[in-house]
Symmetry: C2
Subunit: 216 residues, 2 copies
C-alpha cells in the first residue's frame, strides 16, 4: 500500500519555479483577492512559504507580477487593423472584433484581477481604459463618420458625446463579464448573440444620434 506522492520534494530550475509561482498566484488572487495569504498560496503550490520570498522580495512583488502577467499578452495589435479595414462592412468588423475580444477577455482570472486592481488603486487598468479609448472607441467613431459621410475629422474632431456613445456600447458588453465573474449572476458561456444584437442596436441607432450631435 504505497503512499504515492505524499512527499516528492522536487528541485526545479529558477525559471520554472518562478513561472509556476506566478501561474498559481494568478489563479489564487483572482479567486480571493489580493489580501490572500502567502501561506495558502504556498500550500497550493506544494512548497514551503519561505520559498516564495526567495523568488520575490515581498508579497507586493508577487502581486505586481500577477498584474503584468494578466494584462500583457491579451491585446492583439491586429485588432487595430481589423477595425480600420474599409474593405469590409463596419458591422462585420465590429462583430469579429467583439467576438475575438470577448473570447480573449471574458475569463475568470482576467476580469476579477481587473476589478481588484481598480479597488486597490493600481494604475494599470487606467492604462487599459486608455487603450480601449484610443485603439477601439476612436476607431469606431471614425469609421462611423466615414460610413455615413459625416463631417470630416480634420474639420470637426471627434466629440466627447460620440465617445460617450461608443463607451455605452463597450461598457454594456463589458458589463456582461462583470455580471458573470464578479456577481456570478450570469450562467451562460456564450454571449455571441447578445453581443451581435448590441452591435446591431448601436449601428441602427447611433447614426441618427450622431447626426443630431454633429449639427451643433
Amino acid at each position: 500500500m504505497p503512499q504515492t506522492k505524499i512527499k516528492k520534494r522536487k528541485r526545479l530550475s529558477r525559471d520554472e519555479r518562478e513561472q509556476q509561482i506566478i501561474d498559481e498566484a494568478v489563479r489564487y488572487f483572482a479567486e480571493v483577492g489580493f489580501d490572500g495569504q502567502t501561506r495558502e498560496l504556498a500550500r497550493r503550490l506544494g512548497i514551503s512559504q519561505p520559498l516564495l520570498f526567495r523568488y520575490f522580495p515581498t508579497k507586493g512583488d508577487i502581486v505586481k507580477r500577477v498584474y503584468e502577467e494578466v494584462y500583457l499578452r491579451r491585446w492583439q495589435p491586429q485588432w487595430e487593423d481589423l477595425l480600420s479595414d474599409r474593405s469590409r462592412p463596419l458591422s462585420d468588423r465590429l462583430n469579429q472584433f467583439y467576438h475575438e475580444y470577448t473570447n480573449a477577455i471574458f475569463e475568470f482570472e482576467w476580469v476579477r484581477i481587473l476589478v481588484f486592481s481598480g479597488i486597490k488603486g493600481v494604475t494599470l487598468y487606467q492604462q487599459y481604459l486608455k487603450l480601449i479609448h484610443d485603439k477601439v472607441l476612436d476607431r469606431i467613431c471614425t469609421e462611423l463618420r466615414e460610413e455615413h459621410n459625416f463631417p470630416d475629422l480634420k474639420k470637426t474632431p471627434l466629440t466627447e458625446r460620440e465617445f460617450d456613445l461608443a463607451w455605452n456600447l463597450h461598457g454594456g458588453i463589458f458589463y456582461i463579464a462583470i455580471r458573470k465573474f464578479i456577481y456570478g449572476s450570469e450562467k451562460r458561456e456564450n454571449f455571441d448573440a447578445a453581443i451581435e444584437d448590441s452591435i446591431a442596436v448601436f449601428l441602427a441607432g447611433a447614426p441618427t444620434v450622431f447626426e443630431a450631435i454633429l449639427e451643433d
Copy 2:
C-alpha cells in the same frame, strides 16, 4: 491660547453612537475596502477601538450593517410606476428614470461598496441585479413591445435576447459609474447628456433588432 476641542469626550446615547459608527464605517470601507482595520475606523470616529465591540459583536457585523445601510433607502418604488406610465412618451419616461436613478446611485460610497460586495461573495448585490431585471428591464422591454405593436406578452413572453439588449443599455450607463468611482478615469460630474444620447440610440436601434428577434 485655549486648545479648543482637543479633548471633548462626549457621551452619546446608544442609538446616536451606533448610527455615528455606521455612517463613518460606510465612508471608511468604501474608501479602503472591507479589509480596513477597526483601529483606524475608531481613530476616525475619535473613539477607542474596544468601543466598537460594545456596539457590534464582531467586525463582520459592522460590515453587514454597512451593506444594509448602503443598499436600503435607495430604490424608489415610484420608479416602477413612472416606467409604466403610458400617458407619457417612453423616451420621456426613460430619461426621467435614468436621470433620477443615476442621481441616487452615482455616489462614491454606493458604487464602491457595491463592487466590493461582489468580490467578497456577498449575495446582496445579486438581489439588486434581480431588482433591476424585474423592475426596470422587464418594464422597458414590455413598454417597447407596446409602443411598437410587437407581439402580445401573453402570447410571446419576453425573450432572453430582449433582456440582453436592455441589459446592454443599463450596463453601459452603469459602466460610467465604474469608470468614475472604481478606476477614477472619469472626472465629469454630470452625465445627463451621455445618458440621454444612450437612451436615444437604444430607442432608435432597438425596435429594428427586436423586430428581427420576434420573427423567429
